[in-house]
Symmetry: C2
Subunit: 294 residues, 2 copies
Amino acid sequence: MADKKPLSGYRKDKGVLWISSYVGNARVKMDYKIKALLHYEQSPFQEISIVDTKGFGKMLVLDGTPQVSTGEGFIYNEMISHIPIVTHPNPKKVAMIGGGDCGPAREAMKYKGIEQIDVVELDPRVTELCRKWLTPNSYYENDQRFTMIHRDGYEWIQEQKGKYDVLMIDRPDPVGQAKKLFSSDFYKSVYDGITDDGVVVFQSGSPYYNVSTLKGTVKNLSKLFPIVKTYLATIPLFPCGLWSFTIASKKWDPLEANINKLQHQDTQYISPEIFTSSFVLPKYVEKIVEASSE
Amino acid sequence: MADKKPLSGYRKDKGVLWISSYVGNARVKMDYKIKALLHYEQSPFQEISIVDTKGFGKMLVLDGTPQVSTGEGFIYNEMISHIPIVTHPNPKKVAMIGGGDCGPAREAMKYKGIEQIDVVELDPRVTELCRKWLTPNSYYENDQRFTMIHRDGYEWIQEQKGKYDVLMIDRPDPVGQAKKLFSSDFYKSVYDGITDDGVVVFQSGSPYYNVSTLKGTVKNLSKLFPIVKTYLATIPLFPCGLWSFTIASKKWDPLEANINKLQHQDTQYISPEIFTSSFVLPKYVEKIVEASSE
């Protein structure tokens, strides 16, 4: 560290390395104790680091913000993938924008009926470093259904028309380049990119400190889709923990899905009961969602 | 601050005051940006401060650990009180150990059938400062059913025999003095302190970084009570968010409770649906609970 320029978010305190992630307009900060900085580089797109931590295992960090950990990444990966996949009765073509660690893709592979799994990730180095440090590619790249596309998701989706049964938008927070993934024309491109009975899911921010992200997502989707529903998971890696996903569907209602598909699924977080209960919102969250869908 | 001895957990950074709360053997740290330090004192029992924060409103801090905030305290207060109260079909006598802010007591007052509400808080200064800064006592102290008892909860409960229909154990983390509130003989005293069909609830720590607290609570309660169930809430104030409560009952099963009692209740978090879904545990949490109850 000492001989490198200081990395975003990193700080040494009494010889111990910490990474700090500010949220809610810097009102709250979460600090992660670092056991080892395994890798650091500046890619053409962002600052990428891989660290080993005491509380979360190995972690991918982009521009100083922790993205996913080996300790609890299964929560985010399962909740963004299984719910839209199970909501669609017979998904064949599945794609995800973002998520170069391929976590949601690995979950999708657990469904034999799925024939095509495309992952669109802007930064090839994110994919390569996740393969090297987080998940051996042997885990998934032998799966013939899997294709990695290194493109800008915003541009890529505009070329897809009525193609995907299930689309997962694993977008970063709405800052810098990623802002366009929260624009109303992006939502329209997503609508056009899925089939006539397609299902799409967005991570829609923290209902506690990220309310505007949740509001904007529900508002934009409600203008386009007949069925829009928000569900929650608690992700220990993220400050305040509570995180929202919003599913939008042209035909299939998640609350009428065949959740038994999850009965014998190889998962660590989601079960048929969790599928259903994740749509039950605390009153203060329900208020935000209802106000935004009017 | 400058002319005071440094307070536990507080730190000035570029002129901004922060309070840091370490958890999980200091693997993770949560920092709260302070707008104003409203009050600080060393009571005979602990270091007490009241702060105003950007993210959580006013906060009670004990020995450097944030306890409750005006911004989201309703979550903890509602979840530790309404669930045991509704689980018992006809509670008359209710008590809580800890929680000098009287949050759970104010929730209990919403039930007309309850005739007696006793709050046992070790430190009178906590009560007085919460009254002054967090909740005007006018909100609840005119309620004739309410009694504040400034005693050591561990000693107090040993004098109670078959007395309470509902008991809430709003204990701090298992450090220092509070350790005895996690000892097996304390659980036995609690069992003896409630009626033959009594219900008791404990905050049982974070299932993510506090696993031993959850395990120990379930294990101890399972030895004494026929019905022991863990439920969850996400509390943004607490690092990692996910928090567990464990309810133990001599006769009444929470999953058979008349949740309609919550239908028109004046709450911000809990609803009949949240009551039920809070008992649905993610697979990785269910594993911890099942392993502990064997």
